[in-house]
Symmetry: C2
Subunit: 119 residues, 2 copies
Amino acid sequence: MSTDQLSVTFAALSDPTRRAILGRLIAGERSVTELAEPFDMSMPAVSKHLRVLERAGLIARGREAQWRPCRIEAAPLKQVADWTERYRHIWEARFDRLDTYLQQMEAKEKAHARKQRRK
Amino acid sequence: MSTDQLSVTFAALSDPTRRAILGRLIAGERSVTELAEPFDMSMPAVSKHLRVLERAGLIARGREAQWRPCRIEAAPLKQVADWTERYRHIWEARFDRLDTYLQQMEAKEKAHARKQRRK
């Protein structure tokens, strides 16, 4: 297990339940009970996921209120976004090439259709 | 272990060596030997990392050449970037609040300095 921040963040995000929990927190703070609701999962299992997210710094839990609401801490997600930016030109170049290819195919088909009509 | 594409991608990216390998491929295709060079690691260990990246669809290996060069496949990285976009407004709002706070602190300090000069 790697312990650098980005590795810990990626590991925490490699589970669909944990990503769904983060997704629910976009709307605002939620209690553990509220977060557990949509999942067919025991409370200890949900708590375990929350601990992984908390250790990764992806969520924080209030200390004031009795219900200790969870909220998103977005800094590690910004780090992920910044990391992926280095690769953006690669997928954009790829989609540009695909676009050019599709345009060429379309032009060829139109030329073919015109020829057929002239016959 | 989750098997959905995004989970597999995040798991593959949760290792600093695998991210470093991807980073080296930004410049273009590389042989396995070239990729292994900067790492203090056995060839089987490097090959294992490459297999994880290949299974996640993050790299592809040429079939033509004898040296089977590795190249980045950026589609899963685009998926990661798209996923993080949903959270951008959260970290941006946070940085905006921090900005406002710092500006207020600066204004207070200037006001204080003016008062001191008048004395």
